[in-house]
């Protein structure tokens, strides 16, 4: 029954990779020994005062511009009050009703159109520290103590909130991928989900199709991959529909997504909604971004990922365009195509074999890679793979690999094939008896015998002819 329409909104946190923290001069870095990147300010000692990080404000403005936001003429930091061990001042310096960026939008290219997702706001705040719950045994289960690592405390965090404009899990996933790529390209953050430098919460509700009401929503937290997010959203949509169809009501709650379990277990009910008692941070003065600076940033923003997907999808399939752009490969692809490679062939190589090598895109000489792509069919597979693995090395030249021609001449290959069929008479009989899956075995043997230099297409053809 498709009488229900999902309503999805996203809240994304991105850790900025500035040199120093948001309000002090401590290093902003991942992985230091616990509590080595701290000072009186980020530990909330008596008398310590925040001083805002100019770079963090500038980068938030850049992101705001990339998301088509209005940049505030006057932005204000607020205190958000609550007690928790990882929050040393017992308030987080955040933004409330006067954020740096608001009223933006991001168009998300999909195979069947381009939904525009409203960006409610993008604001700057400080991150909390990290709580580590330990038991006497040192294990997390049955924790008896909480240790706090303040290295992360006070690092700059951008929060992006969307309008509830998303209606399916696939668009939510594409939005997140596109946003991540935008953030990475702007140089704001590594936005790595595994390291927590990009985190997101999803608000989900459903309503009868055609209605414009907003029903009670639940919040999904702690999803560490885009695929899990899509899966979790689908699961929650299905659950809410089931609840309504069984005559029940959906409770407002936060659900911790655990991919190992079928259901999303509730973390905490929001029946007692927390009162954060926001008020303007009196230790800071309002931020007035200079107009000329904002204008300069505006001109510095290049073609954004969404636009590039759209452009490239004119040449390639939408799928290829999407993979290239959200994988950060499209600029290299363009360069390789400009250097003479076939567009489709180049896309295939980049999205598959090239990605598997883990090579740094910026280290690649596009001209040499173009030569390789074009010669792929004519050089031995082994030579191609080896060359691709080295394409990011300084001074790499494709020429020695191109010199290794593939053996496609049947008169050269036939004697080898005959020898192998003879040596494996048992398998040959089975093949002829109908076990055609053994074709691969024979092709593999021939490739091995020829040191990978045989053209697999010709070998295939000849083996089949001889066994047939």
């Amino acid at each position: 029954m498709s009488t229900w329409e999902p309503v999805i909104g996203l809240e994304i946190h991105v850790q900025l990779k500035t040199e120093t923290k948001m309000f002090c001069r401590c290093r902003n870095g991942f992985g230091g020994e616990p509590n080595t990147q701290t000072c009186p300010v980020c530990l909330g000692f008596p008398g310590a005062l925040p001083v805002p990080n100019r770079r963090a404000i500038e980068e938030t403005i850049k992101l705001g511009l990339a998301l088509d936001c209005e940049i505030a003429e006057r932005a204000v930091f607020h205190r958000k009050n609550y007690f928790y061990p990882d929050l040393p001042k017992a308030y987080q310096i955040s933004q409330y009703d006067e954020p740096l960026c608001s009223h933006g939008k991001l168009a998300v290219p999909t195979p069947d159109g381009e939904p525009v997702i409203g960006i409610t706001r993008a604001h700057l705040e400080e991150d909390a520290a990290k709580n580590i719950h330990v038991a006497a045994s040192g294990r997390i289960r049955g924790a008896t103590a909480t240790l706090v690592d303040f290295n992360r405390g006070g690092t700059p965090l951008v929060e992006i909130v969307t309008e509830p404009d998303i209606h399916d899990s696939e668009t939510a996933k594409r939005f997140l991928q596109l946003l991540r790529q935008t953030v990475v390209e702007l140089g704001l953050s590594d936005a790595e989900l595994e390291k927590g430098s990009m985190r997101f919460d999803v608000n989900v509700s459903v309503r009868p199709a055609g209605s414009d009401e907003l029903r009670t929503r639940t919040e999904l937290k702690n999803m560490n991959s885009f695929n899990f997010a899509a899966k979790g959203i689908e699961r929650e949509i299905a659950r809410q529909i089931r609840v309504y169809e069984e005559g029940g009501t959906v409770e407002q709650e936060t659900l911790h997504f655990d991919p190992a379990h079928e259901e999303s277990p509730p973390m905490r009910s929001k029946e007692e909604a927390q009162d954060y008692r926001y008020f303007p941070e009196p230790d800071l003065v309002p931020v007035h971004p200079p107009e000329d600076l904002v204008d300069r940033f505006r001109t510095e923003i290049g073609e954004l990922p969404g636009a590039r997907i759209r452009r490239i999808a004119d040449t390639l399939s939408f799928y290829d365009a999407d993979v290239l752009v959200t994988g950060g490969l499209d600029r290299l692809w363009s360069a390789v195509v400009d250097a003479g490679a076939d567009p489709k062939e180049a896309a295939n190589v980049l999205a598959n074999q090239f990605v598997a090598t883990g090579t740094d895109v910026s280290a690649v000489d596009a001209g040499e890679l173009a030569k390789l792509v074009q010669a792929r069919a004519e050089i031995p597979r082994a030579a191609f793979d080896e060359a691709l693995a080295k394409v990011g090395e300084a001074g790499f030249s494709a020429d020695p690999y191109l010199a290794q021609k593939v053996v496609a001449d049947a008169s050269e290959l036939d004697p080898v094939i005959d020898r192998i069929i003879e040596a494996n008479a048992g398998q040959a009989a089975q093949y002829r008896g109908g076990k055609h899956g053994l074709l691969g075995f024979f092709v593999g043997q021939v490739m091995k015998e020829t040191g990978g230099k045989a053209d697999p297409r010709v070998v295939n053809e000849r083996v089949r002819a001889k066994l047939g």
């Binding site: 310590a48 007690f83 061990p85 008692r277 003065v285």
Partner: protein, 469 residues
């Protein structure tokens, strides 16, 4: 040689040094001896430093100002064991000029009070009459300077905590323009109001100490560059336009006749020195100032005091879990007045009440500022009594918080407006000092110094308490 700690100003004490009549150590020891002799009675100090590095003269420091390696309790049990790992900017600046911290002075807990009776460690006493309060919250610094235990001191002022004790103890104190002196390292009470300032025996000392501590600090983003400080030398007040707000003088709520008369005489004296004097009015500021203050200050305090949770420093009481540990720590660690203000402030910021309380208070604050700004188009300074009363007996107001709050009715309005105020002792009433409050426009400290200096000379007030002469 003997150092007359009761009488010498900081400038005169420093003169002993420059003329090589006494060494820095001899001077420091002389003040330590004075503390030994008189602090048992006055209880001006919470901590006395046996020694402190430096080549200059000593300075006493209010215990809300963080001093590296020297306990800083803010008068609260919750910080009884706290020793800062860094110096406040004002301390760094004092040290850069060779000043040596002689001790940390008593204060109402977290600077919340007008008598030092809210200190977790017992009240200080007024050197003029030890049965009376020295004022607050900076009663410790006031008693130390008035009682000859330090040549000068640093105080902090949120709603009158420098000016009112100076009035009650008969010496000089400046609350500077908001934003001129760094708050970095100063235990916060109400961030948009707190200012550190000098406590001294003379206006010149006050001006000099202000020049040491004032100016932009990269660690406090609310600070600004300040005009160069001029040490006053003038004898007259020619051209000075003095405004006398009636609501703060003859019509002031709860004003004592002796206070009113002493201030009237000082104003007449100013006129004889060449100033022009005219009446004026601050109706909103006086009527709503205290109410407005008691929303804004507690609201900010409720957040500023939230960090005392037992996790990282100070007192920690055991509890079964985090929540219980925090609640027990704060219950045991905070006294009644911080608890009262945390509750008022939390309420004022609560969802559903914010607009009615905190929001309205902020709008009233803007109106108070405008009312003052308008007067400074016609006047160079405004004058009034600093406190409507002379020093009151210990215990007289401790059970009536509102009566205690009303003691600040005359100092609060200009604090809300962010303006500088100077207390100059102007006479006695019933044998106790009366303070004259001079309020200046934003960054008008030099004007206050000139006016205060000429009046001080002409008044000839003896800052040494009669019973100690």
């Amino acid at each position: 040689m003997t150092v007359d700690t009761l009488r010498l100003t900081a400038e005169e004490t420093n003169g002993l040094l420059t003329r090589k009549e006494a060494s820095s150590d001899e001077i420091y020891r002389a003040y330590l001896e004075a503390i030994d002799a008189r602090d048992e009675e006055l209880h001006a100090f919470l901590h006395v430093c046996d020694d402190d590095p430096g080549e200059g003269i000593p300075i006493a420091v209010k215990d809300v100002i963080g001093t590296r390696g020297i306990p800083t309790t803010a008068g609260s049990k919750i910080l009884e064991s706290y020793v800062p790992v860094y110096d406040a900017t004002v301390i760094e600046r004092c040290r850069a000029r060779g000043l040596r911290v002689i001790g940390k002075t008593n204060t109402d807990e977290f600077a919340m009070g007008s008598s030092t009776e809210n200190s977790s460690f017992g009240p200080s006493r007024n050197p003029w009459d030890p049965s009376r309060v020295p004022g607050g919250s900076g009663g410790g610094s006031a008693a130390a300077v008035s009682g000859g235990l330090a040549p000068w001191a640093l105080g902090s002022d949120t709603g009158g905590s420098i000016k009112q004790p100076a009035a009650l103890c008969g010496h000089v104190g400046l609350r500077p323009t908001y934003g001129t002196v760094s708050r970095f390292g100063v235990v916060a009470f109400a961030s948009s109001l707190d200012q550190v300032g000098p406590v001294a025996k003379s206006v010149r000392d006050c001006a000099f100490l202000y020049s040491v501590i004032a100016g932009r600090d990269e660690n406090d983003s609310t600070t600004v560059d300040v005009p160069a400080v001029e040490l006053p030398r003038n004898h007259d007040l020619k051209g000075l336009r003095i405004g006398v707000p009636t609501e703060m003088n003859d019509d002031a709520p709860g004003i004592e006749p002796g206070v009113r008369d002493a201030v009237r005489k000082a104003i007449e004296l100013a006129e004889s020195l060449g100033a022009s004097v005219d009446e004026c009015s601050l109706p909103l500021s006086v009527e709503y100032g205290v109410a407005c203050y008691y929303l804004v200050a507690p609201a900010e305090a409720s957040a500023n005091l939230a960090r005392y949770d037992g996790v990282r420093f100070g007192l920690r009481e055991d509890g079964a879990d985090f929540r219980e540990m925090v609640m027990k720590t704060r219950d045991v660690g905070f006294g009644d007045e911080p608890k009262r203000r945390i509750m008022i402030g939390t309420y004022a910021l609560s969802s559903g009440y914010y607009d009615a309380y905190y929001g309205t208070a902020q709008r009233v604050r803007t109106a108070i500022k405008r009312e003052h700004d308008a007067l400074f188009e016609r006047f160079d300074v405004l004058v009034s009594p600093t406190s409507p009363t002379v020093a009151f007996p210990l215990g007289a107001k401790i059970d009536d918080p509102v009566a205690m709050y009303m003691n600040d009715v005359l100092t609060i309005p200009s604090c809300m407006a962010g303006l500088p105020g100077l207390n100059v002792p102007c006479g006695l009433s019933e044998g106790l000092p009366v303070g004259l409050q001079l309020i200046g426009p934003q960054f008008g400290e030099n004007t206050l110094f000139r006016a205060g200096h000429a009046l001080e000379r002409a008044l000839g007030f003896d800052v040494v308490p009669e019973r100690l002469r």
